[in-house]
């Protein structure tokens, strides 16, 4: 099967824009691995938050191709250089997504609420001092604050607002981000999750996690339950077991995350 993705030689670049790297490749691999499901899913509105070089959104458009012709694509980035580079990358591949220079989805959150069927995010996940978050240029592509979660947590709140009832979210996380805790947090909002790709490089261990609404999950009616015990224990265990199966996963992470914030 010849699923096309973006060609590296056609991806544009700029000194202030994050180039396609292991995390970008892992995210595209995850989307490819799930391509058949995505084609059956027939998303109407697809979106990438933080499009950087444009490698991921271009690959997504190419792999869904004409079979998902009924879809439109939107991509945002806070870095205006990244928006230009994404535009050049898309033009080189003859695809079109609507680009907006904005912080996460600011300006779209009201009207786009509940309309996004597919959201992909490679967030700034690197743990950094908090004051490095929100800087201009390429730093915005990686500076993630404490545990690399400052921007991730903001994005997740926006994602919960934007995703349609049948919306899927694919997100890159690092072990240091405590992905099992992210999954538990999302479960409280009614989302099931699965690791699509898990990859360890010399520098980092990446997980690409897919989230989708599971209507069998009992969501806290008023969000008053202060800890993660709200979700049925068996289901939480099944999420955790996905991580525990991974040999590099340190049990201390799982244990400490059980106490929540």
């Amino acid at each position: 099967m010849s699923s096309r993705i973006a060609q590296i030689r056609l991806v544009s670049s700029h000194p202030e824009v994050y180039e396609p790297c292991d995390d970008s490749f892992a995210l595209v691999d995850a989307l490819l691995a799930d391509r058949k499901n995505l084609l059956e899913h027939k998303p109407t509105l697809c979106m990438e938050v933080g499009c950087g070089s444009g490698y991921v959104i271009t690959s997504l458009m190419l792999m869904l191709g004409e079979e998902a012709n009924g879809a439109q694509f939107i991509a945002t980035d806070i870095n205006h250089h990244a928006i230009r580079v994404t535009q050049e990358t898309m033009e080189a591949h003859r695809v079109h997504a609507e680009l907006i220079n904005t912080d996460i989805a600011s300006g779209l959150e009201n009207r786009l609420a509940g309309l996004v069927d597919l959201l992909v995010v490679n967030p700034p996940y690197v743990p950094t001092p908090e004051d490095e978050v929100g800087r201009e240029g390429i730093a915005s592509a990686w500076a993630g604050g404490e545990n690399g979660r400052s921007v991730i947590d903001r994005i997740l709140l926006v994602a919960l607002k934007l995703l349609s009832k049948r919306g899927w979210l694919y997100m890159v996380t690092l072990t240091a981000n405590n992905p099992s805790q992210i999954c538990r947090q999302m479960r409280k909002k009614g989302y099931d999750s699965r690791i699509i790709v898990q990859r360890s490089t010399e520098e980092e261990s990446l997980h690409i996690i897919k989230f989708w609404k599971d209507f069998d999950i009992e969501v806290d009616a008023k969000d008053v339950v202060p800890n993660s015990n709200a979700a049925p224990a068996g289901v939480v265990d099944s999420v955790l077991s996905q991580f525990q199966r991974l040999s590099f996963w340190r049990s201390s992470d799982v244990n400490s995350s059980r106490s929540g914030k």
């Binding site: 027939k42 109407t44 509105l45 012709n69 009924g70 879809a71 439109q72 939107i74 806070i78 205006h80 928006i83 230009r84 535009q87 079109h96 609507e98 680009l99 907006i100 220079n101 904005t102 912080d103 600011s106 300006g107 779209l108 959150e109 009201n110 009207r111 786009l112 309309l115």
Partner: protein
């Protein structure tokens, strides 16, 4: 920027309660043909704010849409309407210009087809 995108954008300035729709200031419009997809049009139709869409199309120089939103059944049968809806929604691009907050008058520039919705520190 397509009119689809315009229909999804609001002013994001702190304290603004009535930020939709953004008024369009046109410097340059370009038309880019794309293949029509009826499924997409039918799926997105109920999500479109028709008045904002109608007004935006007029400002962009396209006057062939009905002022009142048609019944959804029209999308099943009226190919002529689908073609016009498709054209105004996806083929008209605001290439250069601005989007203006209806409450504060703050302009969000649109350059090379890309709206800049970034806020200044005192607007967040």
């Amino acid at each position: 920027m397509r009119m689809l995108t315009h229909n999804m954008l609001s002013s994001n300035i702190k304290g603004v309660t009535n930020g939709f729709p953004l008024r369009i200031e046109v410097e340059k419009v370009v038309e880019k043909q794309v293949e029509i997809n009826h499924d997409f049009l039918r799926n997105i139709f109920p999500k479109i704010d028709w008045k904002a869409f109608f007004d935006a199309s007029r400002v962009m120089g396209y006057a062939e849409l009905p002022e009142e939103a048609p019944e959804p059944s029209v999308l099943e049968s009226d190919l002529e309407f689908l073609r016009k809806f498709h054209h105004a929604l996806l083929e008209l691009h605001l290439e250069e210009g601005a989007l203006v907050c209806p409450e504060t008058g703050r302009k969000f520039p649109v350059n090379k087809g890309i709206p800049n919705m970034l806020l200044h520190e005192d607007e967040v």
